[in-house]
């Protein structure tokens, strides 16, 4: 019989570590062993790490199965589900299960994992007190969560917080009790623990630190928890997640060497030559492990030995910890306690909620804690595990890999050096190997293809640069990432990337943008700051506080600076229409302030030139009294809407062009745009208002309104393009507003509409504005919303006292004080 020829391998335990070991073994030595597995849990091998997403409802059990029944059949494995091994007879080389099954072995692998630690307090055995270890525990929690009552999680470590987040997501009122002063103190230092606690509390989970449980209260069922200080916290569910310990009882009874765990050598061999152990129950080199990466490494070593390769040896490496709670980013690796000969580098950004700390010893990273921005975790971990001397990049190390310019680390080399399992896309959990694999196996050549196939950089996009570097490395010269013109010397990102990332990462202040997008300067420059200010005003009209110090002087003082440092003032004349009273008021201002020059502008209004800065508030006050508001002749925003006299007066006029112009101007004044926006409405195709060289123009015709856009009459001269014809004035307004909003949202700062249109494509703009009513309405609504915050007359605001300092000298010195 062939079966007698096969060696008999018996595995006790069916978790992730033995599962991986068998996979490796079947590859290395197919058909060498007849395998029998005893699993105390009544099911197949599943991904225990993903229990938290099952608890929170982000995944189903079926999605986390690693080996389905078919896998066991395919490999001829006998799997005893729900059989717990109760005895090992090392003499007879047999094991016996609690159901009385006895099986003999040539090689035995013990992989009994760990058991949750139960704190020995009164009431620990009440109904409703559970641990968090396996699927049964998750199902018990889900059942309890249906009540939507109160839950207490004892333990503010990784597992406890994931349990708390899951229960909260299922509708329970959750309190976390943690005996230490800060959360996750084994992985995080106090500062990061504090940030974590804030984030957890913001989700509505209560956290009590330094909370010692005295007893669990209840008759038959749990009713609450009493703390040492006498406080009672009501609860119908108590989850104990205070830690795990290796499950080594079986091995101990069998007389194997057991310390904290089952003692094994670097080849996973126990004190009995026929018995191996691996996983959380094993102790190797004095350490026990609970994270998956070293457990898989043990699996690889054990498989090699079983396949006959005696050289394979387990080596310790630090494994990073990540919290699997959606929306909370933290990363920790290595040893970060203070100590002799240790130094640290710390970066904090309270506004952005970022904390980074690196612990160094002899110029090497020995520990890292990252909170908020964990993008460089993989890189730090790599430096740590390689023992790289960081002397050369010490000054910029904390800012991460992107900051390491210069010779030793050109970015490509750094990416090339990353191991295949280095995580590139944090949003979608895509590692380098998968991206490279997809590129080569599927023949991908474009970024879009890579996004489609791997999802890498498809969510927030912040790893796009990395993904492109990987593409360059994999495809060589055949891949040429489109050269992006950076916004300015403060960043390598172009305007489009910055705009996209502001939205994607919900960045709502200039410091947040600079922090998150890794600005190279501390506070930007005169190029990027006004651009960022505009993007933020545009994207978050209700939330962003306009930063005047990031605006050009004209927009800061609502007037145009002239070559001699004086200013020109232009009041708004709606549609270019005025009257004697307004003209009289302007004349009075001109007299009162000795205005050197009064001139009619190209936009059908009147310019007062040569006004001293100190006089501006008084000039505005007088103009305000006459009913004028700022003409925003200085703004990257709506300037004028020029009109002709239209059907009211002109014998050729087809529509009320003056009325429409005024209506547009009153609707749209105050809005900020990427560059200045000038409009005109002509009452007939004779086009007296010169609408066909404006940013947006309207030519009235008998059948309605022809909307034009993308003209220019400045550095470039360009006739407009036709957007389309609409029938009514209302429609004309809606289309113009929608077009403006599309331009506001997409264009680069200082990019006039004709340049934007050329870049985006006229057809695309027509498709969205003329062809897609839903889109048009959405653009229109967003513009209207933003106007709620934009239509504030800056003149009256200033007259009433806002930032008065701007217009007064700080001090006057040196004039005759001595005489006093």
């Amino acid at each position: 019989m062939t079966e007698t020829a096969l060696e008999k391998l018996v595995v006790v335990g069916n978790g992730m570590a033995p599962g991986r070991m068998l996979e490796e073994l079947f590859e290395k030595a197919p058909g060498r062993y007849a395998v029998t597995i005893f699993n105390a849990e009544p099911r197949v091998n599943y991904d225990r790490i993903m229990l938290s997403p099952v608890l929170s409802g982000e995944k189903d059990y079926e999605e986390i199965i690693i080996h389905g029944d078919g896998w066991y059949i395919k490999h001829g494995i006998t799997l005893y589900k729900g059989h717990k091994i109760v005895a090992i007879d090392r003499e007879a080389k047999t094991v016996t299960s609690d159901h009385g099954v006895t099986e003999s072995y040539d090689k035995l692998v013990i992989a009994t994992g760990s058991v949750p630690f139960i704190i020995p307090v009164p009431g620990k055995d009440l109904r409703g007190v559970i641990t968090y270890r396996d699927l049964d525990d998750v199902q018990a929690m889900l059942l309890a969560a249906q009540s939507r009552e109160k839950a207490v999680v004892i333990g503010g470590g990784l597992l406890g917080l994931e349990a708390a987040a899951g229960l909260q997501a299922r509708g329970m009122d959750v309190t976390v009790l943690h005996v230490m002063p800060t959360l996750m103190e084994r992985q995080l230092d106090p500062a990061a623990g504090y940030l974590l606690q804030k984030a957890v509390e913001e989700r509505g989970i209560k956290v009590l630190t330094k909370a010692n449980t005295k007893r669990i209260v209840g008759e038959e069922k749990v009713e609450g928890i009493e703390l040492e200080d006498g406080r009672i916290i009501p609860a119908t569910l108590v989850v104990m997640a205070v830690g795990i310990r290796p499950n080594a009882g079986l091995a101990k009874e069998a007389g194997l060497a057991v310390n904290r765990g089952i003692v094994v050598d670097a080849g996973m061999q126990t004190s009995d030559g026929n018995i191996m152990a691996l996983g959380e129950c094993a102790e190797v080199g004095g350490m026990v492990y609970g994270l998956v990466a070293p457990l898989y490494e043990m699996a690889r070593i054990a498989a090699s030995h079983l396949a006959g390769d005696r050289r394979a040896a387990f080596a310790h490496s630090d494994t990073p910890t990540k919290l699997k709670v959606t929306g909370i980013n933290l990363y920790s690796v290595g040893d970060f306690a203070d100590g002799d000969g240790r130094e640290e580098i710390v970066l904090r950004d309270a506004t952005a909620g970022i904390y980074k700390r690196l612990v160094l010893k002899e110029n090497r990273i020995v520990g890292a804690v990252l909170y908020g921005d964990t993008g460089d975790g993989a890189w730090f971990n790599d430096l740590l595990n390689r023992g790289t001397d960081i002397c050369e990049m010490r000054d910029t190390l904390i800012f991460g890999q992107a900051y390491q310019g210069g010779s030793p680390l050109d970015p490509m080399a750094a990416v090339a050096a990353l191991p295949d399992d280095a995580e590139i896309c944090g949003c979608n959990g895509v590692c380098k190997g998968r991206i490279v694999g997809a590129i080569t196996s599927k023949g991908l050549t474009s970024l879009d293809d890579v996004r489609a196939h791997t999802k890498a950089s498809a969510s927030c996009g912040s790893c796009t640069g990395l993904v492109e570097q990987i593409m360059s490395l994999t495809l060589g010269d055949s891949y040429n990432p489109a050269a992006v013109q950076p916004m300015c010397n403060c960043t390598d990102l172009g305007h489009d990337d910055v705009r996209r990332l502001i939205k994607a990462k919900k960045l709502k202040t200039i410091p947040a943008v600079m922090q998150e997008l890794e600005w190279k300067t501390s506070c930007g420059c005169a190029k990027c700051r006004p651009a960022l200010n505009y993007y933020l005003v545009c994207d978050w009209p209700d939330e962003y506080a306009d930063d005047y110090q990031s605006r050009f002087i004209n927009e800061r003082v609502h007037a145009n600076i002239q070559k001699d440092g004086t200013y020109s003032v232009v009041p708004r004349m709606w549609g270019g229409v005025t009257n004697s009273r307004e003209l009289r008021a302007i004349a009075d201002v001109a007299d009162k302030f000795n205005v050197p020059l009064v001139k009619v502008t190209g936009g059908q209004r009147i310019d007062l030139l040569g006004i001293e800065k100190e006089d501006l508030p008084a000039v505005w006050a007088d103009l305000n009294k006459a009913g004028f508001v700022s003409g925003q002749a200085y703004a990257k925003g709506l300037r004028t809407v020029k009109t002709c006299v239209g059907s009211d007066w002109c014998r050729f006029g087809t529509q009320n062009s003056t009325g429409l112009g005024i209506r547009i101007e009153k609707f749209m004044w105050g809005s900020w745009t990427p560059a200045k926006l000038k409009m005109a409405v002509s009452g007939c195709p004779r086009n007296c208002a010169e609408a066909t060289c404006k940013d947006i123009g309207v030519i009235c015709v008998d059948s309605g309104y022809e909307i034009h856009f993308a003209g220019a009459a400045g550095l470039d001269i360009k006739g407009t393009e036709v957007l389309g014809l609409v029938k009514t004035e209302d429609e004309a307004l809606e289309h113009i507003v929608a077009l403006t909003q599309m331009y506001r949202e997409q264009a680069r700062y200082l990019e006039r509409i004709y340049k934007w249109a050329k870049r985006v494509g006229l057809d695309e703009i027509r498709r969205q504005i003329m062809g897609d009513a839903e889109k048009r309405k959405a653009y229109f609504d967003r513009f209207v919303f933003s106007q709620k915050f934009a239509q504030v007359d800056p003149w009256s605001e200033r007259v009433s006292g806002k930032d008065k300092h701007e217009f007064r000298p700080m001090a006057t010195v040196g004039f005759n004080q001595a005489a006093e």
Binding site: T521, S522, C523, G524, C525, A526, R529, P530, Y548, Q549, S550, R551, F552, I553, N554, R556, V557, I561, K563, D564, G565, K613, D803, H805, P809, M810, A811, T812, V813, G814, F815, Q817, A818
Partner: protein, 112 residues
């Protein structure tokens, strides 16, 4: 020679990343406050075409002139980048927020 420190006001009178002017018989002086709360004073007169530097955008320890975008170092008064030119810098003393400038050239000829 001892320095005459003339009080000009409080640091909080100047917006962060902003500037205020002080008037003197020999022209305006621009007093800047950076994002890092450093204070600098320079002549309010761009070496290029005389633009009022106090009206420019302040970034790092530099200001960009509002007229033609020259960038002037607040520390040295020198134009940065390819442009060449220089403005006078005026020593500032920051005594717990109370600001003083040293106006040697004005001499404040009070003693006479």
């Amino acid at each position: 020679m001892t320095t005459n420190w003339t009080a000009i006001g409080d640091i909080n009178d100047i917006p962060l990343r902003g500037a205020r002017c002080i008037r003197t018989p020999t022209g305006k002086i621009a007093v800047f406050r950076t994002a890092e709360n450093e204070v600098f004073a320079i002549e309010d007169h761009c070496p290029h075409k005389g633009g009022p530097l106090s009206q420019g955008i302040v970034h790092g320890t530099a200001v960009t002139c509002p007229l033609h975008n020259w960038v002037i170092s607040l520390e040295t008064g020198k134009a940065l980048g390819p442009d060449e030119g220089e403005v006078r810098t005026i020593p500032v003393k920051n005594d717990n927020g109370a600001l003083y400038v040293a106006l040697e050239s004005l001499a404040l000829a009070a003693a006479e």
